[in-house]
Every structure is written in structure tokens, then in C-alpha cells.
């Protein structure tokens, strides 16, 4: 932070005596010394708090035993550090089913989000850089598909898959995840901007085949966009809940979201075992990989967002 002149002056300040009228007040704010607003700072702080409190709550309460969860203040530690025990219990409860769920989620993310990204890149590139009859119709369909929430398609998909005998298999989660209209649209617009048509022409003149042009020239240019789409589809698949909920009945194939919900429901039934502490610890373990992924991929992502905004 740069230091700035002390607090802003009241607007109605009498002109200093003994001077002629000023034609222009010198600019007190610049890019290096931005204007400050107390109100905005407070508002931003509030929003920041609002976003971080649940996360803080989750982290704090992951360190408590089930008994302490109910007897200690929610937003502070209980004095009895139970985190290691909680993590151990979470990973071993019910023959280590949590680890299995984590593996399932990774499978769905790698296959589903990876596949969705691959298809979006190929499709987006094709739509952006080639002309063919029916392109406008494809555009209309894609834009329309972006507007349809996946949840609305879940039940029809279930009925269709159950006739094909695919329900209760990993395919039931992976196949619908492969289609990401939004990802396709994003790649399309990104490819249209990021790949100069002249570059493609030059490559063709030099005798490169389409595949080679795509792989060696276009892919590097598309990298920021690819990472952006990958992040979006990854988060969507990682957090996908409703689709696996209705598709899967076998806990061995649950992703983390559905599994944690099943654990949470244990407290709400006769003869069930309440394991609130494991639900909370499991939730922390569930969001960690996403946080790591974001931190690692953030550089690419930011450059992707800002690309094309400045002429260089």
C-alpha cells in the first residue's frame, strides 16, 4: 500500500485566502494512488467475512469430537484437539468407504471433466475456425443447451439409462458429465479470439496437416482457455450431487457428495449412528483437493481471463 495524503477533506472548504481562484485542482488520485472509500472498504470486509465464516467454521469444527461439537462455541476451538483422530476415523469408518468415495470422485472428475474438456476444445476449435453448413443451427442448439440446468435433465436421463441398463454403474455419472455446453461455448469464443486465422493459413501454406496444425500451433494458444474450461467442468463434476444421487444405489460407486449426505442421514433414523464429526471432517477433506487445484491452476486461468484485453 502506498501512503496517501491524510483523510479526505470536506467538500465545502473555503478557498485559501490570498490566492487567486484555482482553475484546476491538482489530481489527487491516480492509478498508483487510488481513491479510498470508507464505505466500500466496510462493505467489502463484510462480504469477505460472509464468504469466509462458513469455511472458518468448518475448519474449526473439524478439530472437535462429537461431544464437543454440541457443548462448545461454534466459532472457536474446544480446547480438545481432536482433528487427527477425526481424520483417522473418517478414513477408516465403515471399512474405509470414504477413501473409496474419494477414488470414485477422482474417477468421475478425470473421466468426466477431462472428457468434457477434450470434447469442448475439439468442438470449440472446429466451430470457431471452420465454416460448414448448419453452423448457425449448431450455435442455436449450444446456446439453448447452456440455458438448461443439468438437474432438469437428470430424471429423463435416469429413465433412459435404466432402460439401457446403465444405472448403478460409473457410466451413469461419467457419460452425462462429458457434455458441457457452457464449456463448448467458452472454447468457441476463446478460440475465435486467440487463434489468428492468418496463422492457420500460414501453417497450411507451409504444408502442415490439420491435425498437426491443431496440436502444435493451436493447442498452446488455447492453453489458458483449456484450463478455464477444465476448472469449470472439474468443479461441476466434483460437486455434482443430484445426478449421482438418482443414478447410483450402490454405496461402492458413490462420489463424496452423495456419500457424505448418506453419513449425515445416519443421524436422522432409528438405529442409526450419528457421526456429525466425521461428516464435518469429511467435508473438509472433500474441499481440499479443489482448493489445491485452484491454487495450482490459477496463473493460467487469470491469464486466460485477461487475454485479449490489451493490445500488445
Amino acid at each position: 500500500m502506498t501512503t496517501t495524503a491524510p483523510a479526505t477533506t470536506p467538500a465545502a472548504r473555503p478557498a485559501r485566502p490570498g490566492r487567486g481562484p484555482r482553475l484546476r485542482t491538482p489530481r489527487r488520485h491516480s492509478v498508483d494512488r487510488p481513491r479510498r472509500s470508507g464505505l466500500l472498504t466496510v462493505l467489502t470486509a463484510l462480504v469477505c467475512l460472509y464468504s469466509l465464516v462458513p469455511l472458518a467454521w468448518l475448519l474449526i469444527n473439524a478439530t472437535k469430537s462429537q461431544g464437543d461439537l454440541f457443548t462448545s462455541f461454534g466459532l472457536w476451538f474446544s480446547g480438545n484437539f481432536h482433528l487427527v483422530q477425526n481424520v483417522t476415523d473418517t478414513l477408516t469408518y465403515d471399512d474405509g468407504i470414504f477413501v473409496r468415495w474419494l477414488g470414485n470422485t477422482l474417477l468421475y472428475v478425470v473421466a468426466g471433466a477431462g472428457g468434457a474438456t477434450l470434447l469442448a476444445v475439439l468442438g470449440g476449435y472446429g466451430l470457431a475456425k471452420f465454416t460448414f453448413p448448419g453452423k448457425r443451427a449448431v450455435f442455436a442448439v449450444v446456446i439453448g443447451a447452456v440455458a438448461v440446468p443439468g438437474t432438469a435433465l437428470a430424471v429423463p436421463t435416469f429413465l433412459m439409462f435404466s432402460r439401457m441398463g446403465l444405472t448403478n454403474t460409473p457410466w451413469a455419472v461419467i457419460i452425462p458429465s462429458l457434455i458441457s455446453p457452457f464449456g463448448l461455448y467458452l472454447m468457441w469464443t476463446f478460440a475465435a479470439e486467440a487463434i489468428p486465422t492468418e496463422l492457420l493459413e500460414a501453417a497450411r501454406v507451409d504444408g502442415a496437416g490439420e491435425a498437426r496444425t491443431f496440436a502444435q500451433i493451436c493447442l498452446p494458444l488455447l492453453a489458458p482457455g483449456i484450463v478455464t474450461v477444465l476448472l469449470f467442468t472439474m468443479v461441476a463434476t466434483w460437486n455434482n450431487y443430484f445426478l449421482p444421487l438418482i443414478m447410483l444405489k450402490d454405496p461402492d460407486w458413490y462420489p463424496l457428495t452423495v456419500g457424505l449426505n448418506a453419513w449425515n442421514a445416519q443421524a436422522a433414523t432409528a438405529g442409526g449412528e450419528a457421526i456429525f464429526n466425521l461428516v464435518i471432517t469429511g467435508s473438509v477433506l472433500t474441499i481440499l483437493p479443489l482448493v489445491v487445484a485452484f491454487l495450482l491452476l490459477q496463473r493460467y486461468w487469470q491469464s486466460g481471463l485477461a487475454s485479449g484485453s490489451v493490445k500488445e
Binding site: G165, I246, K249, D250, E273, A274
Partner: protein, 438 residues
Amino acid sequence: MSTPRTLWRGAAVVGALTLALTACSSGGSGGGSSDDSSGSAESGSLLVWAWDNTVEPIAESYMDEHPDVTIDVVNAGTGNDQYTALQNAVAAGSGIPDLAQVEYYAVPQFAIGGALADISGLGASDLEGTYSPGPWSAVHQGDAIYGLPMDSGPMALFYNTTVFEKYGVDVPTTWDEYLDAARALHAADPSVYIANDTGDAGFTTSMIWQAGGHPFQVDGTDVTIDLADAGSQKFADLWQQLIDEDLLAPISSWSDEWYQGLGNGTIASLTIGAWMPGNLEAGVEQASGQWRVAPMPQWEAGASASAENGGSALSVMEASQNKDLAYDFLTYLSNGPGTRIRIDAGGFPATTADLESDAFLGKESEYFGGQKINEVLSQSAADVVEGWQYLPFQVYANSIFNDTVGQAYVSDTSLADGLAAWQEQVTTYGNDQGFTVQ
């Protein structure tokens, strides 16, 4: 679901065809085994849907004794979640388990829909007297039997003796005393309530049951609903006073606040089924030694009426290709060696032999300060008022309970008006479903 019947049938036919075509390509799909068409009780595979955590160990034990049998136990969700999944599977005609856990209140709905198999011909009709009256009548529809009891939930008053002693309040034996106790506790400490309630269909129907009400009478597809009968009125009058005087904690059962309240003494008692000790021990460790069990308060001093609250049957599904084996495992779980495994895990049995055994009755529970709680609970099982029936669409009815009766807890609506509104909506629904409801 308001799908026209023809569509359902069409879906079922297509489903059956695809099932025949795919012929259980994956081992986990329902419909039983395909490799063993004889369906003998010694080999084959079964798929069981149950959320109760003792079914898995019982299945393990069964498989040890029957090496040629594989049983896959799946937790397909708790209560309503599983019912939705079950209805979806039945509608799609695939992925149906051989056996499913169904709570007593939901048995009629699945039975009348044709999803459950009648097992009276497989030997279940000889089991008269094996189970306590409440659960035994719950699995019956006329002469047909649609499952065997897994457990039962005869009601009792679970109370936090530490709290009652602290404020010098006697444990109530009648509902009038209960009302006085509720006032005394809340006056002594405004944070303490005798019970929590935000409107719970299962609790309300059980209370009406104990009061001698018969609001639901079912004869085939003829249904009579009267939620203003003498029993319903008794309950509504009492509970209305508790609501009006703010003597009930505004906390929903099974929420985390509920567990917190049970642990810190702000919810001083529960009138609930006999399966509750297991939940207290697992979820409310911090109150160990503070809770006791007493008989349910009575409507008339000196009486001993009780009702069932919760509890589940395990039912053989009509779509099962292996009903003989399914029934064999069912008897193993319901009245064979499985009952021992359940009781050791803290479950409450429905079998009279266990309910009357000295070992069971004499068991001192550490959590309940050494009290022999099963004496109270077993007595309650014997005292259940007979002749209670649930609606053949009780799952739906309970799902709209909070929109109707639940309003009495949060607005100026009276419980009686709430019950009337519930009756009205349920009647409309029943008639739409093809029942004759009065």
C-alpha cells in the same frame, strides 16, 4: 407421480424386456440371480436394500453358514430417500432389490401398489405368536403378509432424571401430570422444555393411537379418514395447551440442535419408540448416566395403554426372482440367529421370545444409570393398543403433514384445524389415486 396407468404398464413391459435382454449383465443389478433358476434356499445371490446398520453383519453371518449364497446389502438411502428410489426402480422395472427395508407406516402403500410379495404362502402364516402384536399386525393386509418385522418401537417416556431432580419435578404418569410438569420445568428455567416438537407425523399418529383413536380405517380400497375422532381430539386438546403456552422447544427432531438439546438438558424428555437408546448412546454421549425410561403417560390414571412409534419390516419384493432364498434369509434375520446380532447392537426386537427372555429383561444399561430399561420397554410392547391401521398412501400423507398440521406450530391455526386440513388434502389425494375415501 400422476403418470397414467398405461404408461406405467408400458414402462414396466419395456423394463422387463430390457431386463430380459441385459439379463443382469452386472452382478450388482437387481432381480435376483440368473445363474440359479431353481431358486433353492441353499445357493444364489440376493440384493438387499436397508439403511439399518445391523443388516450387513447379519448377512455376513448368514453367508458364513451358507457358503453358496452371496448377499449384497446396499444402503440406498434412509426412509423417504429409499422409498423414492424403490418407486423409481419399480417404475423402471429394473434395479429392484430382492428384499427392502420398509417402515411399518409405509408397508400398506407398497403392498397395495403391488411392489411387495405376499409371503404368507412361504411359511409366514405359521408365525402367529412369534412377534409382539403391534409389528405383527403392521405387516398384515387382510390375510396377506408383506414382510417380517425387523424391530419394533413400543413407546416409552425417556426423561433426563438430572433435570427433573434439579427442579424437583416428578416424572409424570398421566398426560395431565405431563402438562403440569411441562409448566413447572419451563417456569423453573425458561431454557428448559419438557419436549421438542415442530410437527412430526409419526409422533402425532402414535399419540392418537395411544389415545384410542382410529383415524384411518382401511378395507381394500375403501378408506375412512376421521382425524376428529375421540382419540384425535384428546391428543389435539392436550397438545394445543402445550403449544399455546410455549412449552415445546421449537426444535425439529433429528436435527443437530435436537442432539445438542438432548445432551445439555434443555430437552428434558422424549416420548418415543423403544429403539431410542441406541441413538442416545451413539449421538448423545455427553448425557450418559442422566437418562431414564418410564412408561408412557396415560390418558386415564392407572391405565396401561401404549402405541408403536417407528420400526421397520424387511419385505420380499414381488419382482424378486429368488423368493425362496429371500424368505430364508428373511426368517434368519427376523426370527432366527439374526435377532441376537440386532439386540447386541442395541436394536429393539419384535420377537416375543426375545422380549420375554430373562437375559434381555435383566440387562442393565450403563447409559441409563444401570436401569433395566427393557423391563419398561417390553411391558410397553405388550400394552400396545390393537386395531391401528395406516393409510395405503401414508408416505404421501406424512409428506404433507408439515404443510397442514405443522402450521399449528408456527401460526394461529389450531391443531384441530390443522388435522382437518390434513384430512381434506389426504382425502382428495386418495380419491385421485383411485381409492374410495370418505
